[in-house]
């Protein structure tokens, strides 16, 4: 029984066909990792799933319906924290502005989620004053506090210095263990190995191959996947 589903999704920008009929589904608690060359449509697929882009055909459903605001959380490559707000205000923002919670309740929940990503002590700091890894953890807390039914990660570690990647992956792994449904675009193959339920290979707007990580990495079926893996590893 799938929770998040993309059904024959098409997306084009003018002449360029970015998604050519993508169908896939995620079951509750599954972690799907998507890999593929740049321009293969991975990020566009995530943006369609988060309803940040209108699709040109096909359907996105969450539990059979169109997702509501904040129900699908999104974490971006470049963190995209609100620069005019402290870490705490960033996390509170969705609760206050979208969920219409009181500031007091929002503050309490936000502090709790900052604590979960290990950053309760950074609450009064502005994004400019945090490291990339810390900013990304705040961004994760900002999405989680909305209690989403699924989380999407768009290359969450590729803008980070190597020594900061681990702290973000740790948070994501903990989240996966707690049973969060996740779709992750990432080239962290070790993460995919350890955490993914299945790994998907995308190329030219299509899903080329999908299988459990052990199989995917040791015995890829498609020529395209083999070539790509040999370049990444």
């Amino acid at each position: 029984m799938s929770i998040l589903r993309a059904d024959n999704v098409h997306k084009r920008y003018d002449e360029l066909e970015v998604l050519r009929g993508v169908t896939f589904e995620v079951e509750p608690g599954q972690v799907k990792v998507i890999i593929g060359p740049s321009g293969s449509g991975k990020s566009t697929l995530l943006r369609c799933l988060a309803l940040l882009e209108e699709t040109d055909g096909g359907e996105i459903t969450l539990e059979g319906k169109r997702p509501g605001p904040g129900e699908v959380g999104m974490v971006f490559q470049r963190f995209n924290l609100f620069q005019n707000m402290t870490a705490l205000e960033n996390v509170m923002c969705g609760l206050v502005e979208v969920r219409r919670q009181s500031k007091q309740d929002a503050r309490k929940a936000a502090l709790e989620f900052l604590d979960r990503v290990g950053l309760a002590d950074k609450a009064p700091q502005y994004p400019d004053e945090l490291s990339g890894g810390q900013q990304q953890r705040v961004a994760i807390a900002r999405a989680l506090v909305m209690r989403p039914k699924a989380m999407l990660f768009d290359e969450p570690t590729s803008a980070l210095d190597v020594e900061l990647v681990r702290e973000v992956l740790d948070v994501m792994e903990a989240l996966a263990r707690e049973g969060m449904t996740m779709v992750v675009v990432s080239h962290e193959l070790r993460f995919a190995h350890h955490v993914a339920s299945t790994v998907l290979m995308m190329d030219e707007g299509r899903i080329v191959e999908e299988s459990p990580p052990a199989e995917f990495f040791s015995a890829p079926k498609e020529e395209r996947t083999k070539r790509f893996l040999s370049l990444v590893e």
């Binding site: 940040l52 971006f76 609100f82 005019n84 923002c93 969705g94 400019d128 900002r142």
Partner: protein
């Protein structure tokens, strides 16, 4: 050299009623026009950034019209031509102050729209995306996220515009607005002595602009998003350049 400098006349000028009232009037026209211009400029800037072509061209025409023609001509047009075109302006409410306010607001609105547009564009679009992912409406995103950051970028050039406007109010002396230049000329003509009245006028402008510069730096600090600003207000003078004007 300074043989003909009449210190007494200088003090008379500096403390005279017409000077004070003139300065106050200039400040009022400037503040009123800039405020109106910011409102006009905000909507013209939003129009210029609109995905709709019709709206973009309205903004374009507005900027073209008010930047391509001399401010003095616009002032004349509004003061002399408008009442003849439209009797609604041939009434007692249409004072030199109102005419200067309308003319300078319309003119300055075009310049402010460019400043505001640059401010809005300076905010990384990724933040808008993040806001939408959380479910914020476009209006909320503008209010809570984009505008506060755009203000920080727009403050220094807006300070410049304030100074420009303040000096432009002297143009309105020609439509018999009794601002500082009028006061100094009247005094000079009566006494047939120019250095003292004009020097006094210069000092008034310097004083007003100095106060403005202090206010501006406070405002910049208010819109600088670091926690240092809150914890140690005394350290902010050092903290502000770190966020740097040179980033522009």
């Amino acid at each position: 050299m300074l043989a003909s400098f009449d210190t007494h006349l200088f003090w008379v000028a500096l403390s005279s009623g017409p000077y004070w009232r003139g300065a106050l009037l200039a400040l009022e026209v400037t503040a009123a026009s800039l405020t109106t211009a910011i409102i006009i400029g905000f909507f013209v800037a939003l129009g210029a950034l609109s995905p709709r072509r019709g709206i973009r061209s309205v903004s374009w025409v507005y900027n073209w019209l008010f930047r391509a023609t001399p401010t003095l001509l616009q002032l004349f047009f509004i003061w002399y031509a408008l009442p003849q075109l439209w009797t609604g302006f041939a009434q007692s409410w249409f004072t030199p102050f109102m005419a200067a306010w309308i003319a300078l607001s319309l003119n300055e609105g075009a310049y402010m729209s460019e400043i505001i547009r640059a401010g809005l564009l300076s905010v990384d679009p990724g933040q808008e995306l993040a806001g939408r992912a959380l479910g914020l409406s476009r209006r909320r995103i503008l209010q809570r996220i984009v505008v506060p950051q755009a203000i920080r970028i727009a403050i220094p050039p807006t300070g410049n515009e304030f100074i420009t406007l303040l000096k432009l109010t002297s143009l309105a002396s020609i439509i018999s607005l009794h601002e500082i230049l009028t006061a100094s000329q009247e005094l000079a003509v009566v006494k047939f002595q120019y250095p003292e009245p004009l020097l006094a006028a210069l000092l008034y402008y310097l004083a007003i602009v100095s106060v403005l510069m202090v206010l501006q730096s406070r405002l910049e600090r208010r819109f600088t998003f670091t926690s240092a600003r809150r914890r140690r207000p005394s350290a902010t003078a050092a903290a502000v350049p770190a966020v740097s004007h040179d980033a522009r």
